[in-house]
């Protein structure tokens, strides 16, 4: 129903190739997240799938049919934008009705779907207001409502939560996940927020400069990042990367240890250092350890109750069983 296949897809703007030949298959019903730093081509890739940008070469199949040259309207996809992109001159009701009006769905059916979408998205009370009178979270709910009523083959989300404040973001994240569980429709979600990627995705696609660095489930990416770049995107705080003699002990150019895989002690351990900033989150404490002799500081995740302060001398012991090793090209060594 909603399988999307990209074969040797490229995109160039003038002489600049932003997407080098790329192959990707998104299974029907899968929640796929594109992550990567800004300018990595994740939004461009989404827009190519949407049809808002023309591909330079290659082929995009939606539902097994070649959609490469179809206009966005004919691809049967719905998109939710970062800026919500609601029609400011229409009421919420008319906004939600717009795709059905374009599809010439009969008005009674339209009303039925509007009521259902508004109820599910909790915006029934605002149906006669204009988008300008709604808060950010309400606007995004309306935008999602507008996407649902089309009953699309797949939903495309372009950083839909970046304009919301932190608390709302968590709530909306759950709503979108629940929506996916309920509809079981293919969803492609672009974000630079790795928490969103980890919590929502069935499959994460990590992109850098248009290249796919790794594709896998959140836990695969967490447990076995293919290279140093992926480590920077999966896991928070970031994995500690250590080069030099300490890495050589493990027959690697670089070793990677996640902050949660380091034991901290005030009496004994493999490495030593001095506590810099400690960030108390309540449940956890993130300690930034200096003077370890590794160049960069080491981040350690410790218990929330830990009582270490700036300047305290501490000892660190990495858990070698979950240590990651990388060669001089930054690629993972098994």
């Amino acid at each position: 129903m909603g399988q999307i296949t990209l074969s040797q897809v490229t995109k160039s703007f003038g002489d600049v190739q932003v997407i080098p030949p790329l192959d990707l298959t998104i299974q029907d019903g899968e929640f796929t997240v594109f992550v990567g730093p800004s300018g990595c081509g994740k939004s461009t890739l989404l827009r190519l799938i949407a049809g808002l940008e023309d591909i330079t070469s290659g082929q995009i199949d939606i539902d097994g049919k070649d959609a490469s040259d179809l206009p966005p309207a004919k691809r049967g996809l719905a998109m939710v934008f970062q800026s919500y992109a609601l029609y400011p001159h229409m009421t919420v009701r008319k906004n939600i009705a717009f795709p059905m009006r374009m599809a010439k769905i009969d008005p009674e059916e339209q009303n039925r779907r509007i009521e259902a979408a508004a109820k599910a998205r909790n915006v029934t009370d605002y149906l006669d207001r204009r988008p300008g009178q709604l808060s950010g979270g309400q606007r995004q709910r309306v935008a999602i409502g507008r996407a649902i009523v089309r009953e699309p083959a797949a939903f495309l989300f372009d950083e839909p939560l970046s304009n919301l404040d932190a608390a709302l973001r968590v709530g909306m994240r759950l709503e979108i996940s629940e929506l996916h569980k309920r509809l079981a429709t293919t969803m492609i979600y672009v974000t630079h927020d790795q928490v969103e990627a980890m919590t929502m995705a069935d499959k994460i696609v990590v992109l850098r400069a248009g290249y796919i660095e790794q594709v896998g489930s959140p836990l695969e990416l967490y447990k076995r990042p293919r290279n140093k770049f992926v480590t920077g995107f999966i896991g928070s705080p970031k994995m500690n990367l250590i080069e030099g003699p300490e890495a050589a002990k493990h027959n690697a150019h670089t070793i990677g240890v996640r902050p949660e895989h380091i034991d901290i002690s005030t009496t004994e351990g493999l490495w030593s250092g001095v506590v810099g900033v400690s960030e108390h989150l309540g449940s956890d404490t993130f300690l930034h350890i200096h003077d370890t002799g590794f160049g960069d500081m080491i981040t350690v995740r410790a218990d929330g109750e830990i009582s270490l302060k700036h300047g305290d001398k501490v000892f660190l012991t990495p858990r070698t069983d979950v240590m990651h090793r990388f060669d001089d090209k930054g690629l993972r060594i098994e």
Binding site: L52, A73, A78, F81, Y84, P88, H89, M102
Partner: protein, 254 residues
């Protein structure tokens, strides 16, 4: 000659024999009369001039908008490498003194047989104001977030539906102020209207000019004619104030 613009309104109310140089001008200490309005209306057919003005100003603006909306749409939303150059080139045509092209245009008009016709004037005024219409609409369209139009495309709208149901309603304040400004510009345009008309298509500018003749200036009648000429546009401006202000401070909801 201590004539002030404020006298424009009070002068037609003067008796002709009181019409002398005055300093300071007299506002209230005279006998009031509406006689000059009657004289002006009697001597020249105001309604005919008014009708010509309405047709020429309205027609040229409407024609201009019809051409400019798609032009501004393409320049604002699908710009090419040359878009900026084209915009500047269009504006550069406004830098040319009109009198510089009077002769060729006059000859073209004679050739086409549209001298002293409303059609000819409508076309010429549309063309001279087109750069401004396109520029204004381009600026307003630029304010509309592209994502909203993309959302319309994703929602299944064709290009026509996108322009009709999404772009145009969102740009209405901008389009309204563009229309108003261009009606005013065309209404008051005097160079081409005076040079390309004689009797048939002469609008209100020609009506005013007819009261400043080689035999002397008839202040009272000239003022009466001017007041009558600006009245319609003044009223239009008054009623569209709100739209105009909204248009000039236009911003789309994000």
């Amino acid at each position: 000659m201590g004539h002030r613009s404020a006298d424009l309104l009070s002068d037609p109310l003067d008796h002709p024999d009181q019409l002398q140089d005055r300093s300071p001008p007299i506002f209230l200490g005279f006998d009031w009369t509406l006689e000059n309005y009657a004289v002006v209306q009697e001597r020249s057919n105001y309604m005919r001039f008014l009708w010509n003005s309405v047709i020429i100003a309205g027609g040229s603006t409407l024609l201009g908008i019809i051409i400019a909306v798609p032009a501004a749409w393409s320049m604002a939303f699908v710009p090419s490498k040359r878009t900026k150059d084209i915009l500047l080139w269009m504006l550069s045509t406004k830098m040319l003194p009109a009198v510089g092209v009077l002769y060729p245009i006059y000859l073209i008009f004679v050739e086409l047989g549209i001298l002293d016709t409303r059609l000819g004037l409508t076309i010429v005024l549309m063309l001279i104001n087109l750069p401004i219409i396109v520029w204004m609409l381009y600026t307003y369209f630029k304010e509309i977030p592209g994502e909203i139009l993309e959302a319309a495309r994703m929602d299944g709208a064709t290009l026509r539906e996108e322009i009709l149901y999404v772009l145009t309603p969102m740009a209405i304040p901008g389009i309204a102020s563009t229309i108003l400004l261009n009606v005013i510009l065309a209404w008051n345009e005097a160079f081409w209207t005076l040079n390309l008309t004689a009797a048939n298509a002469a609008p209100l500018t020609a009506f005013i000019a007819s009261y400043s003749s080689p035999e002397g200036l008839f202040y009272a009648k000239l003022s009466a004619a001017s007041t009558m000429a600006i009245a319609p546009i003044l009223i239009l401006g008054w009623f569209s104030q709100k739209q105009l202000v909204r248009g000039l401070t236009f911003g789309a909801v994000k």
